[in-house]
Symmetry: C2
Subunit: 353 residues, 2 copies
């Protein structure tokens, strides 16, 4: 394909769908040209934003001017729309979670291969600064060898009051935020997963999970806690990362945090015991200030490409996709494993996942 710019039509113009144009705008070789949504007022919004309103999905798919279909509908119809679009010769970008089951993703990928079209998933949080800082911190051993990672997002606002509360639509926090946090986690090690245990939260009484906690152990001994909550009026840190030389914390979306580590230039100084409740403790005293470094969080190097720069380069045959379908598939398999572990109340182990 050497035609430029590639025309992108957004199917599903809700919160995320209507957010994409500003992500695509900086990329010269992509242009959002139209929208299809089943809700009339959204079509009016799209039209007033200068986008062509399509009267049906079929109208999008039969328009030969359309190169790329961006799917930002509720999760339950991703698969059907993706397969129709691929068969119509369109490239497809799909919002996360790509499908509700891993088997459904395989069906899509099979069609994409047969049709020789690009299919990829908008796992945008791989570009989040907080995640990239943690990945860089691990790679550069700023806290020594990292052996434990905790990744949390917590709010107190419950589950959004729409299809995200409904199981048949792929609602629930494990599929919504879990898919991001787990995707990020799997990029922090090359190791496969040994074991998974999990608890779902159903405090709000919805038919889907309003949060979850999972413990994951990798074969390389890395352990992880991934947690999402919607009933938390106080938040625990976004990231808590333990290495054998220090601990890093990123507390919030504004990237407040620090790295506290042993000072390699100073011999260890015994800490002073502290009064803690009804007892004295040296074990739980802060490490001595003399032998400890307290450092600001180091920025991550800039990403080489944005999601859409990479997608455009892939369309032009100049790059491979950053978000690989095999990776997305593994995350869905992990989500299924988490659901199973929670349901059975078991540690699922020797998973080789």
């Amino acid at each position: 394909m050497d035609k430029k710019p590639y025309h992108v039509v957004i199917v599903g113009y809700g919160g995320m769908g209507s957010y994409h144009p500003q992500l695509i705008a900086p990329v010269e070789s992509l242009r959002v040209t139209g929208v299809f949504d089943v809700i009339p007022y959204r079509m009016e919004l799209a039209e007033s934003a200068g986008l062509k309103p399509y009267e049906s999905l079929d109208a999008v798919l039969t328009d030969s001017e359309v190169d790329v279909v961006l799917i930002a509908t509720p999760n339950d119809v991703h698969k059907d729309i993706a397969i129709q679009a691929l068969k119509a010769g369109k490239h497809v970008i799909c919002e996360k979670p790509v499908t509700i089951t891993s088997a459904d993703l395989l069906d899509i990928v099979e069609v994409a291969k047969a049709e020789d079209r690009i299919f990829t998933v908008h796992q945008n949080r791989r570009w989040d600064e907080d995640f990239r800082i943690v990945k860089h911190l691990i790679e550069t051993k700023q806290a020594g060898e990292v052996f434990h990672v905790e990744s949390r997002v917590q709010g107190a606002n419950g589950i959004p009051g729409d299809w995200r509360q409904l199981k048949a639509y792929g609602g629930g926090m494990l599929l919504d935020w879990g898919v991001h946090l787990l995707d990020q986690l799997l990029l922090l090690t090359d190791s496969k997963i040994d074991s998974v245990t999990a608890e779902l939260s159903t405090i709000l009484g919805t038919e889907v999970d309003d949060g979850f906690t999972t413990h994951i152990r990798f074969y390389d001994e890395l352990t992880a806690v991934v947690e999402v909550g919607t009933t938390n009026y106080v938040t625990l840190p976004r990231w808590y990362v333990k290495g054998n030389e220090g601990t890093a914390v990123i507390r919030d979306w504004d990237l407040n945090g620090e790295l506290v580590r042993s000072n390699p230039d100073v011999a260890r100084v015994e800490p002073k015991p502290i009064q803690a409740g009804q007892g004295l403790t040296k074990t739980m005293a802060p490490p001595s200030e003399e032998s400890t470094l307290r450092l600001p969080i180091e920025k991550a190097p800039a990403a080489a490409q944005t999601f859409y720069e990479n997608f455009a380069a892939a369309l032009e045959g100049k790059s491979t996709l950053i978000v690989k379908n095999e990776e997305v598939y593994r995350v869905l398999r992990l989500i299924e494993t988490i659901f199973e572990a929670a349901e059975k109340r078991e540690v699922l182990k020797d998973l080789n996942l």
Copy 2:
């Protein structure tokens, strides 16, 4: 017994043993009179503190002036000393963990009953202000109905470099700090335990655990995380307590913290979406300030008796013991269950514990 004050002799005059006299001093009816320790310099320290140095345990036990033996030795010899002391007609206070196995405690309790002597365990952290605040907060429903509790102590100083690193002596953090945190937890609900899962940390390469994480579910649906770490350069909050109307946090031993909860006088206001990394989120936005109360941590009412006031009153037949042997036994059973869950890498469930 109407003789007063009761004479207390301390067996094991290390860190904890030498701390007890200041706890006992305010209680008129108790007096520390002597010490026995196998390490000569400790006997010199005791003597210089005005305490009678006994040349052997036997010398303590055959001294008819001695009413109470306080055991603050390494954990492995608690049982043997306790049984000898009870059989010699002494009342016994024992440091925690009382014994390495729950069966050993039953043996001691049987002797105490047969000899009609008081045997109790110095679970002093029941009197910790942070714990009493949490217990009071739950009882008075300051955060609504509490459904989840996280209790953590974390340091970066490793395991103390003595017998606490050795398995045969009852070393390791689960027996050391775990016994406190689990004892406190079990006092926060009347419910029995349904299930336990756990991971031990062995990052430091000692033969005992250098920390642990356990998830406990009670039949009343309360869930808990209890965690002890000695490789944490940054600490997570000491307490994190979720109720259906708010979340309370106590961050440290200085009782810094807050209670954030919905404002019962204001209708819920939709939060504003925030930019979070590469996306917008309303779900994970802070709850609107208008409909949220941010409150200081409320002090707990003063405890009616200290540990030693209660012990003295029990000696005089005026009070029952606050620290009951059945409770201590249950904590040891829980510790054994945690070791088993970690070893087997299983969720142990339907425990009725």
